[in-house]
Amino acid sequence: MDDSVIIELYFARDEAAIEETSGKYGAQLRRIALNAGADFETARECENDTYLRAWQLIPPHDPGEHLFAFLGRIMRGRAVDRIRREKAQKRAAETVELTRELEECLPGSDSVTESVERSELKASIDRFLDGLSERKQRMFVRRYWYFDPISDIAAANGMTESSVKTALHRMREQLKKHLEKEGYGI
């Protein structure tokens, strides 16, 4: 079913919207949580939370052509929050590794202050991604948005795992330089 039709169901408050959403995107949404280190039950629960949140937000929000991105963003946030809460003492290895990787992009751990508007930093990262080739954009987003393991990214791109690691390392360095250049390291 086309996304526009699914969104119409949300607007019409027809509960078939959830069923259709689940059928079309459920597996991919669960995968985000599993990639982040959630177990199956947690992934399922986050998925349900996501549908509930989508039901609450649509309408008035209309995701338009980006329904999956809208849902995935909710799912991603839910999954990360759950993993942090449930494994506060012992973080999931996957999220520990991912946050450690992203910390390399920070131009000095104390230099990006709390007062920086989140939206400004988000826009800066968007500009960074715009400057990458499509292939690199995909790799970066699959790793740090979708939490794909390195092996999946390698398989999807026909690369070796070490090549993917190097490529991601380079991109993190480039992001760091980009953030410094845009004034976040000063």
Partner: protein, 487 residues
């Protein structure tokens, strides 16, 4: 801010990036989440299909035994990963093209339309394919051993296999043993003066560990006399430093590369590195000096080591193994600068002023808005000794933000007069500096309209040639005169 917070903010990136990555992943058919039993079944079906139809599809990642390098009569190295039969039935069968770039226009500039063959590119000897690899450009003929025979092979102007079609055919020459190296791996031909040209057979071997190449074939531990390196960004300025192989950091580096495993590089990855890393100067160049034979390698990002002559594969190192050497190379604490004997070198303006022959002619006036883009000194080099014998010229390129250029070339008087010799009288722009006026500054018209202004002044010792756009005639005269001021 910490990594967790940055991860949250990455979650807010524009939807189009998320959708693009989602769509692509679906199209590539990456395995999604599956119930375990279903996954096993599907894996079995796909693996069976792979065996039957020779498609290298993997759901698991088996560890390769090594990389096999093969050559064919086209000279292209093909690299394969070889797996244990019981893990996965197929070898990854993707030909890897030579990574080197071939600049056809530049080669035409150098060679004209002549199809002169510079060297034998590859030949078959003893049933093995040998390829030319640049090892020790000025390698001494003291390394030349017993004559092995006469070979005929295909020559090339550059490194593009497609160029073979244009050549006149086969060429030949005597080949010799390289003392201390197995002729099944390396042979040589005699070149001009004491130069030797080396040829390496990297075909038909399965290389698994670094030592398969570094020790078994090149004998690094026995022969290493010096490890020379260039830090990132230094390669333009050819600043090289040498390390004693007895240093513990160098010894542990050799041990680490001996133990590391070879792996195949895919074409896209290799091409990406070939362009981006070279542009961004993000690598160390290493030269292992093995007593007359230099083996050049590139250490990219501190992790990948590529060795010249072995295309399509690399070894990866752990940070802990490479860190001591990287720190040593960064500090230059125990290194000795290497005398630079290349025929050109990028320098700063101040370094150009120190040149004993032409340094005093560096102009002191350049119009406002022009910044130095590059400065290069060209040297003459003795082909027998490989050492510099003097300066041939200094060239500058100054550029504005909107890419207007001033090109300054300081050279000999004969260079300037030769340059002008074929020009019509009314278009000549060269005069002794004392007689140079604005009238000598000529504008030329090409097919695309006006070309940059040109002028050249000279005295008994040197000439200064100038070509510029967006500069007044008066300023051009002033630039040239500032180079001769008081001389």
């Amino acid at each position: 801010m910490n990594g967790d917070e940055l991860m949250e903010i990455v979650g807010d990136i524009d939807d189009r990036f998320v959708e693009k990555a989602y769509d692509t992943q679906r199209k590539k058919g990456a395995s999604g989440w599956l119930m375990p039993a279903a996954a096993v079944f599907v894996a079995a079906v796909i693996a069976l299909g792979a065996i039957l139809y020779n498609k290298p599809i993997r759901l698991v990642t088996p560890k390769p035994l090594g990389v096999m390098l093969l050559g064919d009569l086209n000279g292209i190295s093909r690299s394969f990963e070889i797996f244990k039969k019981e893990e996965l039935e197929v070898a990854k069968n993707e030909p890897v093209e030579l990574i080197h770039k071939y600049d056809a226009e530049r080669e035409k500039e150098i060679q004209g339309e002549s199809k002169c063959v510079l060297r034998i590119g590859f030949f078959v000897y003893g049933g093995r394919l040998y390829r030319h690899v640049d090892l020790g450009d000025f390698g001494s003929d003291e390394l030349v051993g017993e004559k092995l025979g006469h070979v005929r092979g295909v020559g090339w102007l550059g490194k593009d296999p497609a160029a073979y079609d244009e050549l006149t055919g086969l060429t030949g020459g005597d080949i010799y043993e390289v003392k201390g190296f197995d002729p099944e791996f390396m042979v040589c031909r005699k070149g001009y003066g004491s130069r030797i040209t080396t040829y390496v057979c990297n075909c038909g071997y399965v290389i698994s560990k670094g030592e398969d190449v570094f020790e078994q074939r090149y004998h690094f531990s026995d022969r290493l006399e010096t490890l020379v390196y260039e830090k990132p960004g230094d390669h333009l300025y050819k600043k090289q430093y040498a390390l004693d192989p007895a240093l513990p950091e160098v010894r542990s580096f050799i041990e680490a590369i001996d133990k590391a495993s070879w792996h195949l590089m895919d074409v896209m990855d290799a091409l990406w590195l070939d362009t981006e890393q070279w542009i961004e100067n993000d690598y160390h160049k290493l030269i292992f000096k093995l007593g007359g034979v230099d083996v050049t390698a590139t250490l990219y990002n501190g992790y990948h080591l590529f060795i010249d002559g072995f295309d399509g594969c690399a070894i990866d190192l752990d940070e802990k193994d490479i860190k001591p050497l990287l720190e040593l190379m960064e500090s230059h604490e125990k290194s000795v600068p290497v005398e630079n004997n290349s025929d050109s070198q990028f320098v700063t303006v101040e370094e150009a002023r120190q040149d004993p022959r032409f340094g005093r002619y560096v102009p002191s006036f350049i119009p406002e808005g022009y910044e130095l883009y590059y400065c290069i000194i060209r040297y003459s080099v003795d082909m027998n000794t490989g050492k510099r014998t003097g300066t041939e010229g200094i060239s500058f390129d100054f550029m504005t933000k909107d890419e207007k250029h001033i090109l300054v070339v300081i050279g000999s008087v004969s260079d300037a007069l030769e340059d002008d010799a074929g020009t019509d009288e009314d278009k000549r722009c060269t005069a002794p500096i004392g007689e140079l006026t604005v009238n000598n500054i000529k504008e030329n018209w090409g097919d695309n309209g006006p070309e940059p202004l040109r002028v050249c002044g000279y005295n008994d010792e040197a000439s200064i040639r100038l070509s510029a756009s967006g500069v007044s005639r008066e300023d051009m005269l002033r630039i040239v005169r500032s180079g001769f001021h008081g001389k």
